[in-house]
Amino acid sequence: MSTDPSPETDSPAIRCRGLIKSFGAVQAVRGLDLEIPRGECYGLLGPNGAGKTTTVEILEGLQEPDRGEVEILGMRWADQGRAIRRRLGVQLQEVRLTDKLQVREVVRLFRSFYPRGPTVPELLERVHLTEKRSAYVRDLSGGQRQRLSVACALAGDPDLLFLDEPTTGLDPQARRALWEIIESFRDEGGTILLTTHFMDEAERLADRVAIMDHGAILVEGTPQQLIATLGGAHVIEFEPTVRVEVLELGELPSVKSVRERGPLRFLTCDELHETLPALVDLVKSRGGHLASLTTHRATLDDVFLARTGRQLRDG
């Protein structure tokens, strides 16, 4: 086992207070607080440019905050940087590993940096790259590269894993394969900080999520709690051809909330079969019809929309 100085293991995996970081005139992170207990998978959700990557890189010790305090596994970067790094697994965005190395050579290189951890074959097995062990990085697909990157992050048997938009740019099958690997790490008791702008990813993997925008956390809780703040389990999205008042829509049966966005109207409700016919009747009675109509179960995207008036993927 590790000979690292091991501070009290009941300290949270991540604790930070009042993080502030600016780049020139742009304030990327504005007074961020975070506390993530051990064993939790925490999703940091937000559009591009929300400050997720800056936040994560500060926590990873790759950037220094202008102000604020960071504690990782009960240790501080300033005096125990090396000890922290031995227990972190990190996956960064947009790293191009050397094309001319073989998969197992890359894993062996990263394994050599850590005093303890699984063997190279074990790591390859874990990310399902055993058959690709002699392939050059250059010849891997996007999903395989990303799994290789996760194998490198797992090389030191980390207590805490940082994943920065791990499935961006991957096809659905490759995303599911990566999710399974992440889930197995979580199921073994590892702590994960995951950033993503995919709500489905956060909903599937994260025990708790925070929605981040403009360098600050807007709201935090389990995915279910956040969705519950919308007040209804379903979302009806439609475009009426005639003017219908918000107040009128709010009085339709089972409706919990009403929002407008351009010509579109959004209703959240608990019972679709009660709300929908009443909505159609209302619009018809005004001599109009619905130019578009869709319904879906409420998601984190709706929470983000409700909080910011924008959609997550809009960036």
């Binding site: 990873e60 010790g61 790759l62 090396r82 790094r85 031995r86 972190l88 990190v90 960064l92 947009e94 790293v95 191009r96 590993l97 050397t98 001319k100 190395l101 050579e105 062996r108 290189l109 990263f110 050599s112 940096f113 850590y114 005093p115 490198c152 090389a155 030191g156």
Partner: protein, 345 residues
């Protein structure tokens, strides 16, 4: 730092990447060889200008000094017997005038283009001064023995040039590329000792040298019959110190570069002037005296001088301690500055 596995793996990785890049193999192994072959086959000094002539002091040539000085086509000076012989071998002068009162002796390397110019000009001035059609007997003596030709002088320069360019390009380019691909950032997110990464670059260079330099020496011997006058140990010492020095400069050149284009510019700006100034293809003596202090302080000059002293003149490395200290100083200062300025992301 107790665990050297990371250093070993980093060095191995660097070597693998190098060996798997066909173009790097070309630049490291084939290019200097082709360069030497090309210049050797051409067998002439590529940049003829006013030829320099030395008169051996105490010889019969001394009485023509004024006449020779008046000739605008040559530059003349008086040197001691040893000095003159060394200067001729090093290409600092193209012609040595020796002999006694009755018969003058012209020594030159016929493979150097400007030697012929010097010979014709000097002969014309001497005969005119003596009032002749041909009152003075001149005996030409072609110096063409092994170890005294242009190619013999050129090969150590090519080795020096190779050590410089592979050090700067091999280290500087790879580091910049790793920074641009965010690999450096990924590496420092691990507990890898940062010094190991930098040290691995240098170690990988040294491993490559084992193939690189003997190949050049062997090829020079096979194709051109170029002998190695000095000892292997001395040559190894000079090569290692020279290589380490340029590795330091390579680290410094790439300590903050963000793009490979930017790195190319900086490395070219270092390499190009030294190729011209530091006696790779022609002697540094061709530059005006005012430039000599600058030329003497450049690392490639020190390396080429030390290499030629061992390779051509058969001296031990202790005889070029001054050059080696200068080289080491360049390397150490560059390494320290590189460590201080190095940008990992």
């Amino acid at each position: 730092m107790g665990d050297l596995r990371s250093l070993g793996q980093l060095t191995l990785s660097r070597l693998r990447v190098m060996l798997r890049e066909p173009e790097i193999i070309f630049w490291v192994f084939a290019f200097p060889l082709l360069l030497a072959i090309g210049l050797g086959v051409a067998f002439s000094d590529p940049m003829p200008d006013t030829p320099r002539v030395a008169i051996e002091s105490g010889s019969g040539g001394e009485r023509f000094i004024e006449a020779l000085r008046a000739d605008p086509e040559i530059e003349v000076r008086i040197l001691g017997v040893e000095e003159a012989s060394d200067a001729l071998r090093r290409g600092e002068v193209s012609l040595v005038i020796a002999g006694d009162e009755s018969t003058l002796e012209f020594r030159y390397d016929p493979t150097r283009a400007e030697a012929r110019t010097a010979r014709l000009a000097a002969e014309r001035s001497i005969q005119r001064e003596a009032g002749g059609p041909a009152p003075v007997t001149i005996r030409p003596q072609e110096i063409e023995q092994r170890g005294h030709r242009y190619i013999d002088w050129l090969i150590p320069g090519i080795i020096g040039f190779n050590l410089m360019s592979t050090g700067l390009w091999g280290i500087g380019f790879y580091i910049t590329q790793s920074r641009q691909n965010r690999q450096l950032k990924r590496l420092i997110a691990t507990p890898m000792p940062r010094g190991h990464f930098l040290l691995a670059q240098i170690l990988a260079r040294f491993v490559f040298l084992i193939g690189e330099i003997p190949l050049l020496i062997l090829a020079a011997w096979l194709f051109f019959d170029v002998p190695m006058a000095g000892g292997l140990l001395s040559l190894t010492m000079v090569v290692l110190i020279g290589a380490a020095s340029f590795c330091g400069l390579g680290l410094l050149a790439s300590s903050r570069t963000r793009t490979t284009e930017g790195a190319s510019g900086i490395i070219n700006a270092i390499v190009m002037p030294m190729v011209v100034l530091c006696g790779v293809f022609f002697s540094t003596a061709r530059f005006p005296d005012a430039m000599q202090p600058l030329i003497r302080v450049l690392p490639l000059t020190a390396l080429n001088d030390a290499l030629r002293a061992v390779y051509n003149d058969g001296l031990a490395f202790t005889a070029v301690a001054g050059e080696l200290v200068l080289l080491a100083t360049w390397g150490i200062v560059a390494f320290i500055l590189a460590l201080r300025w190095f940008r990992w992301q």
